[in-house]
Symmetry: C2
Subunit: 359 residues, 2 copies
C-alpha cells in the first residue's frame, strides 16, 4: 500500500523511530507508551502499510496531549485461566497494550499450546499485523483483530455499524519473515476514498456507499464503506466484521462497534475506548518443528510458483510487504510531505531535531 | 441456500436422520460413523444448507462402500498439551472425527479457557458450521475450518490451488440459536455454477474463471472459482483460504490443499486424506456469563434493527439459517428429487423402507 502519486521524503528506520518516539514523549506519553507506539507505526511504515504507519503520529500526539489517551497508563494483565487472559489498557495507547498481549500470549501458548487474550479500555492500535507478526517472530502463530467506531454498513443496511474491523494471522517460517495476513473486512480503507478524491478518480463498484447507503463509484459522494464481497457477497465480509466485533466487545467487556463514539467526531479530550483480541498457538505443540517448517516451506514454494496472468505473480499473504520492507531498508522509509510537515511543526514546537532525509 | 427451482419431497427431520443413518450403515459404515454423518448432514439440511446436506449422502455411501472411507475407523484423540490436541480420523468420515474434536475441545476449553484441536487423516466433513454450532450449543465458542482438493484459483493465478476452504465461527446466545458464521472463502460454491447451467443463467462477474483461468460470467465455461473479493480484492479471500489451508495442513500434519488429490477425479476406492482445525473458547473464563449474554443480545438486537434497503433487512450471521430451520421444522426438510431417487434406489438395494413424505 504505497502512497501512490504522493511526494515523500525518505528516512532510515532507526532515526524515524527515534523521531516518532521523541514526538510522542514530548506530547506527554510515558516511555513505554511512546516506545511501543513508535515501534508499531514504524514497523507498519517499513513494511509498506502506510495507511497505518507514521502518518498516524500527529493525530496520536494530539490524542495523548489533549487527554483522549492516558499519558502514563497502568496496563494490567490478569490471567483468567491457564489459557485465558485479559489486559486492561487503562485508556493508553493500543500499541502498548497489544504488545503486552503478545508478551503474555506467547508465554501462555508456550505453556499450554493455545491461549486467548482480550484487551479492554484500549485505543486505536495501528496495524493489526504488527502484533501477530511480533508473536510469529518468536515462533508462535497468532490470530487477532479489533473493532472501532463505525463507518462500514452491514450487508443490505444503509447506516454504518462496523468499523473496518481488521483480521490478522501470522505464523512462523524458518529463517524468513512470517507468513502474515493483515486485512480490513471492508474491500478498501476509507483513506483509499480520500486518495481517489485527490486524484479525481472514481471508485470501483461495490466498495463504498453515499450518505443514503446507496452504492456509489463517485469518490466525492462516498460516505461509508461496504464490507468485503460488495453488494452481492458482502454478507461474508460483514459476518467477518461481526465475529471480530464480538470477540473485541462481548468477550472483552466493551460495547459493540456501533456504540463506539466517532474518533474524529468527538473532541480529542474525550476517550474512545475499544477492545481487541488475540489467539496464540504454539506450532511446536502440534508438530515437530522441522516437520512444521518443512510443510510451511512446501506451501510457500508451491504457492509462489503457481502460474499467473501475464505480468502478475501469485503471492502468499504478506509477500507484498516483504518486498516493500526490502526496498525501504535499502532506500529509507517514505514519509508523505503532509506528515513530514506536521513532524517539522511538532519538532520545532517541542525543540526536537528532525532526522536526516535521504531523498 | 434453498435449492431454487428444484422439485422436492419433504421429510421430517427424525425419519430423515433414520433413513440416512440406515443407508450409511447398509453401505458399510459402523454405527458411530453413520450416526455422526447423518447428524451433520441432516442438521445442515434442516438449517437450509442444502449444498452440504443430505444430497451428499449417495456419494458418501459410495465412498464408504468402495473403500475411500474407513468403515470402522479407530478415531484416536491425543492431548498434546493442556490446550492442544490432535485427532487421527483413521480415514473415516470427517463428521465423526469433527464431532469428536468438539467433544474434546469443549472439555479442554472448559478446563483452560481456550484450546485448539487439529484433525488429520480425515475426509469431507460436510458443513463446517455443524461443529462450531455443536460447541456453541454447549456454551463454548468455536472457530473452525478445513481444506480439500483444489478448485479455487489464487489471486492473479490461473490454476486452482485452494478448495473453497470454509471458515466457521459460532458463539452462544442465551436461550436461542448460537450466532453462526459458516462461509466458503470463495464467493460461491461450485454447485452454484452447476445450478446456473441448469437454469441457463449467467454468473455475476468476479466469481468464476474458465479453464484458462480467465474470469467468465458464462456458467457453461466456468471451470474454477475465484476467491472472495473477485478480480480486484480476491487477495483477501485467497489469504483467508491460505490461513485455513495452513491450519489444516502444516499444523495437522497433512499435505497442503493443492497436493490433495481430486475428490471426483479419482476412483472411490482411493483415499483423499484432508485435515481440519478447531479453536474452542470458553466465554465464561473471560466474562461473567450474564454480562456476556447481555452483550451478545445487545449486539444482535442492535444489528437486527438497523435500517435497511427497501424490502431487505439487516441480518446477523446465521439468521437466514434460523429462518430456514423454523420453516423446515414445521413443513419438513426438502429433499431434491435427484437425491430422493438415489435414496429410493439405495433403500431398495439394501431392503430399507423409505420414510413417509409430507409433500
Amino acid at each position: 500500500m504505497p502512497m501512490e502519486g504522493e511526494k515523500v521524503v525518505r528516512v532510515q528506520e532507526t532515526p524515524l523511530h527515534a523521531l516518532v518516539e521523541g514526538l510522542l514523549r514530548a506530547s506527554g506519553a510515558d516511555e513505554p507508551s511512546a516506545e511501543a507506539t513508535a515501534r508499531a507505526v514504524v514497523d507498519a511504515s517499513a513494511r509498506g502499510v502506510d495507511t497505518h504507519g507514521v502518518r498516524l503520529v500527529p493525530r496520536y500526539c494530539q490524542a495523548v496531549n489533549e487527554g483522549r489517551i492516558t499519558q502514563r497508563p497502568n496496563v494490567r494483565f490478569e490471567r483468567l485461566a491457564p489459557s485465558a487472559g485479559s489486559i486492561d489498557a487503562d485508556h493508553g495507547f493500543g500499541h502498548l497494550a497489544s504488545y503486552r498481549a503478545v508478551e503474555h500470549g506467547v508465554e501462555l501458548a508456550r505453556e499450554t499450546g493455545c491461549a486467548m487474550i482480550t484487551v479492554k479500555n484500549s485505543s486505536h492500535f495501528g496495524a493489526a499485523g504488527c502484533y501477530a507478526r511480533a508473536a510469529a517472530l518468536q515462533g508462535i502463530a497468532a490470530i487477532g483483530g479489533a473493532h472501532a467506531d463505525p463507518f462500514v454498513v452491514p450487508h443490505d443496511g444503509v447506516k454504518p455499524f462496523y468499523s473496518t474491523n481488521p483480521l490478522t494471522f501470522a505464523t512462523p517460517v524458518a529463517d524468513a519473515e512470517p507468513l502474515l495476513l493483515d486485512m480490513a473486512t471492508s474491500s478498501i480503507p476509507f483513506n483509499r476514498v480520500l486518495l481517489r478524491r485527490v486524484l479525481g478518480e472514481s471508485l470501483p463498484p461495490g466498495v463504498a456507499v453515499d450518505a443514503n447507503g446507496d452504492m456509489t463509484t463517485d469518490a466525492e459522494a462516498a460516505a461509508y464503506l461496504l464490507p468485503l464481497g460488495g453488494t452481492d457477497y458482502g454478507y461474508k465480509g460483514a459476518a467477518l466484521a461481526a465475529v471480530i466485533d464480538i470477540l473485541s466487545s462481548a468477550f472483552a467487556g466493551m460495547p459493540h462497534g456501533n456504540k463506539v463514539p466517532g474518533y474524529l467526531a468527538h473532541p480529542f479530550s474525550e476517550r474512545i475506548p475499544v477492545g481487541h483480541f488475540f489467539i496464540f498457538i504454539d506450532p511446536s505443540k502440534f508438530m515437530p518443528m522441522p516437520l512444521y517448517y518443512a510443510a510451511m516451506q512446501a506451501f510457500l514454494d508451491d504457492l509462489r510458483s503457481q502460474p499467473a496472468h501475464p505480468g502478475k505473480s501469485v503471492m502468499a499473504p504478506g509477500d507484498p510487504e516483504i518486498a516493500y520492507a526490502a526496498e525501504r531498508r535499502a532506500n529509507g522509509v517514505p514519509v508523505d510531505l503532509t506528515t513530514w510537515g506536521s513532524f517539522k511543526t511538532l519538532a520545532e514546537h517541542y525543540g526536537l531535531a528532525l532526522p536526516e532525509t535521504l531523498a
